[in-house]
Symmetry: C2
Subunit: 462 residues, 2 copies
């Protein structure tokens, strides 16, 4: 028996023996899916309901044991991976998967934190409603993690980040209290909006156990196009015109580099119908039937103005899906080609061209052999600026170079992936003193002993 | 000279003599516009820039002087009115009105806190963009106050509350530090989203001095209808169908009682083209031309299904504006008829009919002579449930009766107006212990001496 046995026994008595994993059974939980972060937890506990989560947290608090909350373990910044001390307890929400209630008229859905995004989207779809969070990991990502990381994805342009979809939240606080505000309300200005504290804070202030999410109408019509543009300036001009012509119907405006399409062709066997140094994947959706007409008119304008050199407007759902498949294969193709040092940056949209120029110049000095796989949500100013053909040893240098250019453009070094453990040091380097102070005050106010997801998001005490 | 003279001199030295008001010059700032809350401030200081705000706050902090931030002074809950102690300093943002920058491509606008909503909307409109905050006070309300109260209004159904429009914020903290995150970014997940602390917290954690707001495309087509419905259930059925048929284009779904229209006819001389116990004012807007066709089809369906008994679809902008005029005159007509005890409640939309039934029953017992002016944002589940023909002495009894029914429906006692000083006691009565604890912890973490807007939102220490 190890020294930790008393806590393990307590957790077993709360959740049942089978719900507490140790040794080799922890493997899938101890490492992130990209295999970048390797933790060594004391144990993994898998509560079946909120009351059990609360009791586990209280038991850990009493023994001064640190907790790492974990959802689908699909994060990209190591936010759900424990350290290697062998002392931290992973609280996995993967048994709490109930869809408690769906209201298609009030357009809300109440789910437990462990529900898988795709399952929740399917339930909403059955009622002709949409949960507008779309990302590559949606078959594995869980609602609690999506909320804790304020997940982005390809729907953000139209529907905003996950934060804006959270109407109600149930959270276990670091002392084991349950804060329950599972209200199906679209408007609630009574008192501090406490749920904001737990959205995007990556489990460092409490553990999300359930949520009420806002649904939107399911668009009936869809228009999807892949368009080759001569340069970034043309892409931006087309974006501005699209806002005028299709307005609220515009739902995705994605940028893909020709180099990225080459990777997808080489490693995934998928060939794009158009190619160029830069292509755009644009989608619009609407309940109104004149969408396609507006999309055709927009494409005509793009050719007339010289903003597009080639392009295809999907003629069928299957063709639209095939265009999206190119976009969604970029990360896997990159992996097969040897991987990359990833950046998840955003800058003001009008500064994208200058950013690409300056970051490219900077990297030619720092890492002359570098190749690039650049893609992302151009309409949000968010690029995945991935640098290939550099060694892991150069990662810190490359990161700093890219982030310095981001900072000069008043951008963000994490537009959608969060800080986790991966980007804390870079955040700390670039944040202002009041940002440091306020972050620390909030963390201390809610988690004075620093036991909930330590080392993530909030820099350790200096 | 009073005992407070040294602070007054300090404030004068920071902002100039003319920027510090005392005596009768303070009248417009000391009372709210509805003349419900009457304060007696030490002085009013009107800084011209953020650095002056910071210096004023630091000077007050040093002398242990409480501050009341004030924008357009159009709030409905007394959140910007000082107490009557003669010791509090009003920091008025009404000289900081600059529109610093507008980016029609990135669809952002940067403004100072004292900019008037209508002015900012006009600036956005000049660039074919929309700032989607619409409320009766938009000619006087200022951006800082709108952010501090997370303002609602008639655009919420489609565009959400003000919170979702705030991309960047500059805030003076209670110790005089300036937190500046004026980023023109649509996505930023780097670290805690500190700006959330200052949105909807009514100036109790700091003073908003500037903001970057998100703009949206200006819809080109508009459809506006006034529809008589036989009952609330029909209104809800029509709402659900509207989400299917016009989807994202639906921008307002307002409920007005026949009694309210009678008040508007009697006191404002405006006659509605249709009338019934309940009427709906519905509006949709889109960049796509087939909107009107969809709206006509929806109305046809409403008549076929028996959800509508009468109705008019506006044939011109002027007619649409006239329909909105009816809605916007309700509050003034109510005032002319002797005023009301107002409630700003929300419940899940599907519970609205039951809420009205139960609240009506409850009030017949508590205040048998009561008459009602009920209207509001039905699509958001938010009603202004205003009770007329009762004495001020009965207000507490009436409030408690209505709020108890709200609580039974898991609703909110302040959907959009905030708590200010008016609803703090009722919030305190109905909130859970973890909500009390967490609210207090946040307040103490940011404002340990309780000097920023004391007595608002957060109950005083027990």
């Amino acid at each position: 028996m190890s020294d930790e046995a008393p806590l393990l026994d307590t957790l077993r008595s709360i959740c049942g023996d089978a719900a507490v994993l140790t040794g080799g059974d922890m493997a899938a939980y101890a490492t992130d899916w990209r295999d970048m972060f390797h933790g060594k937890p004391l144990c993994v506990v898998r509560p079946a309901e909120t009351a059990e989560v609360a009791q586990c947290v209280a038991a850990c608090a009493e023994t001064g044991t640190a907790i790492v909350p974990q959802g689908g373990n699909t994060g990209l910044a190591g936010g759900a991976t424990p350290d290697d001390s062998g002392t931290q307890v992973i609280v996995a929400l993967d048994r709490m998967t109930a869809i408690r209630r769906i209201d298609p008229v009030g357009m809300t859905i109440e789910v437990e934190a462990g529900a898988i995004l795709q399952t929740v989207k399917d339930a909403a779809g059955d009622e002709n409603r949409l949960l507008p969070i779309s990302l590559a990991a949606e078959g594995s990502a869980r609602i609690g993690g999506l909320i804790a990381t304020n997940a982005g994805g390809v729907d953000v342009l139209r529907y905003g980040m996950t934060r804006g979809l959270v109407l109600g939240l149930e959270v276990v606080l670091p002392d084991g209290q349950i804060l329950s505000r599972l209200r199906h309300l679209r408007k609630d200005n009574a008192g501090y909006d406490l749920k904001q504290l737990f959205i995007g804070t990556e489990g460092t202030l409490g553990i999300v156990t359930a949520a009420v999410l806002r649904l939107v109408p399911q668009p009936r019509h869809r228009a999807t196009a892949l368009i080759a543009v001569p340069d970034i300036a043309s892409a931006i001009a087309l974006y501005a015109r699209a806002q005028d012509e299709v307005g609220e119907a515009l739902s995705a405006f994605e940028l893909i580099s020709g180099a990225g399409l080459d990777l997808v062709a080489e490693h995934m066997g998928q060939t794009a119908p158009v190619t160029a140094d830069w292509v755009l994947l644009i989608e619009a959706g609407s309940s109104l039937p004149s969408l396609r007409e507006a999309a055709e008119k927009l494409l005509e304008t793009a050719f007339e103005e010289g903003w597009a050199t080639d392009g295809v407007l999907a003629e069928s759902e299957a063709q639209a899906d095939a265009l999206w498949q190119l976009r969604e294969s970029l990360t896997e193709a990159e992996g097969k080609a040897g991987g990359a040092i990833k950046h998840d940056i955003s800058v003001p949209i009008t500064g994208i061209a200058a950013f690409l120029q300056e970051a490219g110049n900077m990297l030619r000095a720092v890492a002359p052999e570098a190749k690039f796989n650049v893609f992302g949500h151009l309409g949000d100013g968010n690029l995945h600026y991935n640098v290939m053909n550099v060694t892991r040893e150069d990662a810190a240098k490359v990161n700093a170079a890219v982030h310095d250019v981001v900072a000069a453009h008043h951008g963000s070094i994490s537009a959608e992936h969060g800080l986790g453990q991966y980007r804390v040091a870079e955040w700390a380097r670039l944040a202002s003193q009041p940002e440091h102070d306020l972050t620390r005050r909030i963390k201390d106010a809610l988690d004075p002993d620093g036991l909930i997801n330590p080392g993530k998001v909030v820099p350790k005490r200096g």
